[in-house]
Symmetry: C2
Subunit: 228 residues, 2 copies
């Protein structure tokens, strides 16, 4: 059974899948898709890979699936993931799900929109984004980061307790994204920083591999050398 | 094992859980929470029910869980749901998951924000919402409804094929929401309307029970008698 991953390391859930598969020792064929060249928008991609024209996508011996969290759950059934990534225990699994469902309209929406409005759209169009929109999504991002510390991490090492789970991987990949727009989520948040360090330690060398391009963009756009 | 559901029928995922539990013949204690009275914002609710101060929440013999889709998956493991609602077959289950993950930042975000900006916020504050924001989320809502027809339903009876699944229930409950803001998603969309009729038929009398309050609001605010 061949597993292919279509991905672009500029995409947060692509990075999460890249880390998950590598750290779980799951063999897969790397199928990079250059979003900046619009490779996901072609008719060929739509017909052969995903009618949603998105990344990441998995192709498991012809069965194609979009949406990274659906992919995570499918792979937890079909492959051998470390149990702590997506626990078999019903109650522990539900806690990972609870976070993964929460993050869509909180962490993901806000960090992604902030990145797009402050960095991607001005870079692609040459025009600044509407200031009210930037303010709106920046405020939602700050709320989401505050909730990461106060509601999710609290005094625990990881979101689900003492061990890293998929929730931490997905969260960290979202939180790295606004750094490309010049916002450093670690600043002034020692608890968040310590947790990001733990996530990186627990998933390296794949965490750093997944973030190589992002760190280059941060350096080029903002002159900030990553100390990661 | 006692199962409690904390819910408010003004909330889309609360309605979805209400329909799912009733239609699955799962016994549960109804714990209504009046969002318009701020009952979810009290210290007691935060401490006793959910630190996220949201609905819906389930309390399964003391185990409390927020996020309706995490709850759906937990109940699929812990209780007897009709298989078509959340299939045991790995590939079919992944298709339901694919939709449920997609809808967060598409259908849910757009329909919910449109409802809030056009109806809830003006009603609560006495001030109209920013017009640009309304336009933004209206446009996203129209895109999401178009994608419901072209990408998800296509020529099928239900999202997952011939049988109704949780994907249809969650989707329909989101799509009903903007009706309170005076927008009728059925208008000009015969395929969507026919599908909504099928979802209602397949889940009644609980679909209508879940939407009694919403239909009253639609009638009172817009003088539209529901012909549902």
């Amino acid at each position: 059974m061949v597993l292919k991953l279509y991905y672009d390391l500029m995409s947060q859930p692509s990075r999460a899948m890249f880390i998950l598969l590598n750290k779980s020792d799951i063999q897969f064929v790397q199928c990079p898709v250059a979003l900046h060249k619009g490779e996901h928008l072609t008719e060929k991609y739509k017909n052969d890979v995903s009618r949603f024209r998105k990344v990441p996508v998995i192709d498991h011996d012809g069965y194609k699936l979009t949406e990274s969290i659906a992919m995570l759950r499918y792979l937890a059934r079909e492959k051998e993931l470390p149990d702590n990534f997506y626990p078999n225990d019903s109650k522990k699994q539900a806690r990972v799900d609870e976070f993964l469902e929460w993050q869509h309209n909180n962490l993901r929406l806000a960090c992604s929109m902030y990145f797009q409005l402050k960095f991607l759209i001005p870079k692609m169009t040459g025009n600044e984004s509407d200031e009210d929109m930037v303010i709106l999504f920046e405020s939602r991002m700050l709320d989401a980061l505050e909730q990461m510390e106060s509601l999710w991490l609290q005094e625990k090492d990881f979101i689900n307790g003492e061990q890293i789970s998929a929730a931490d991987i997905w969260a960290a990949c979202e939180i790295e994204q606004p750094r490309m727009a010049g916002y450093e989520p670690r600043e002034g948040r020692p608890k968040l920083k310590a947790w990001l360090d733990r996530v990186r330690d627990a998933t390296n060398p794949y965490y750093d591999q997944a973030h190589v391009i992002l760190n280059k963009v941060v350096k080029k756009a903002h002159g900030i050398q990553s100390n990661l």
